[in-house]
């Protein structure tokens, strides 16, 4: 009985310790960002590994998600003679929800796990301590550029995802299934609001970029410096980022569209 209580207490304390370490980590990193902005080349290299190399999977998934939505939406809407609303359906679901969320999930799998593994291995092979020895701040040199790169990349990736998804829906709906070209775009422009829908989607992806970068880097930085530790940290990055993104998405949706 006491052992169970002790385990519960230990788990709770461990959880809050990690939470505290996570926030301290974030503050330490923020402190190094002003100095980092003097050296944009570090961010540029990370933008390449984090953003550009994720582009392909975003393009392909966006296209196919849009095409599938065009196909499925058409089958349902045609029963009501409302297939002209296909554009609205595809655009609204992509811009509001699927673009930011699916892009963030893919980002966690493709870039987040790589970031965690990289930093975890740097820690395990004592490269981070080595940098400290040479009076190079690993926060500024290694962590902060990667954070800024994910923060910048994810909104762009989400926008690309939505845009290419809409063209995928257009391709299936208009070119293959014969929805009217004008009605597809006109109804979309009529119903999709720049502030209410597009801006809110962008805000969502900015929040997700922040969270995805933070979790991935913290898990790497906080990993147990062994092979098994790094592997566990990488798994945790993907799981925690996905959970955080889905949970935050609900909260943000409730705040933005709940009224």
């Amino acid at each position: 009985m006491l052992d169970t209580l002790q385990n519960l207490g230990k788990a709770t304390l461990g959880f809050f310790q990690r939470l505290g370490r996570g926030h301290l980590f974030l503050l330490q990193m923020f402190a190094t960002i002003p100095g980092l902005l003097m050296r944009p080349r570090l961010i540029l290299t990370q933008l390449y590994t984090v953003g550009v190399l994720t582009l392909l999977i975003i393009l392909v998934s966006g296209l196919f998600v849009g095409m599938v939505m065009g196909l499925q939406g058409y089958n349902t809407l045609v029963d009501f003679g409302a297939e002209d609303s296909l554009g609205v359906m595809v655009a609204l679901s992509l811009v509001r929800e699927l673009g930011p969320v699916v892009a963030a999930l893919l980002f966690a799998g493709r870039a987040g796990s790589a970031l965690t593994a990289e930093i975890g291995l740097m820690k395990a092979t004592e490269q981070l301590s080595g940098m400290e020895m040479m009076a190079v701040d690993p926060m500024q040199r290694v962590v902060a550029p990667r954070f800024l790169a994910s923060f910048i990349s994810l909104p762009l990736l989400a926008a690309i995802f939505s845009a290419i998804g809409i063209y995928g829906g257009y391709f299936v709906g208009v070119d293959l299934l014969g929805v009217d070209d004008g009605a597809f775009w006109a109804q979309m422009q009529d119903k999709v609001d720049l502030h209410g829908d597009v801006y809110n989607g962008v805000i969502k992806s900015v929040v997700f970029g922040f969270v995805a970068g933070w979790i991935a880097l913290f898990e790497g930085y906080d990993a147990v410096p062994t092979a098994a530790g790094v592997s566990r940290a990488t798994t945790r990055t993907v799981v925690h980022t996905s959970l955080a993104v889905l949970g935050l998405d609900f909260v943000l949706t409730a705040l933005m569209f709940g009224d």
């Binding site: 953003g51 550009v52 582009l55 811009v95 926008a159 999709v192 597009v198 962008v202």
Partner: protein, 157 residues
Amino acid sequence: MNNRTVEIGVGLFVALGIAALFMLAMQVSNLGTFISPDDSYLLKAGFENIGGLKVRSPVTVSGVRVGRVAAIDYDDKAYEAVVTLRIQSRYDDFPEDTSASIFTAGLLGEQYIALEPGGSMENLVDGDRLQLTQSALVMEQIIGQFLYSTSASKPKE
């Protein structure tokens, strides 16, 4: 990996991202059909009942869209709804006795305002109020009238 590849890759990525955002703003959302206040003028119209009319609903003449509903207020002196219409400046040739009606697009579609030009020589200018208006049809009232007329006509048979 040399610097040039990295820089070109990042440049391409950022350009693509901005293009996608631009496409979402212009092509997908309503920014493209936005009417700027400089390029338009306002008309007012009082309706007994506006039904499901909303701000940003279209304003049409002969089915052609010429503007949007800018605001909807309730006038508690006249006991009617006052709808402000924002009309594009190039359609500034409406006679003074133009009438406004609220119609529904399709059976379940959204409601819009249709203007019908009259025959007066004087034209409407910014801030004028349309005198002739026709309220939205409310389904319950139509059904009510229909039931009333059928029940009233029954005894005669």
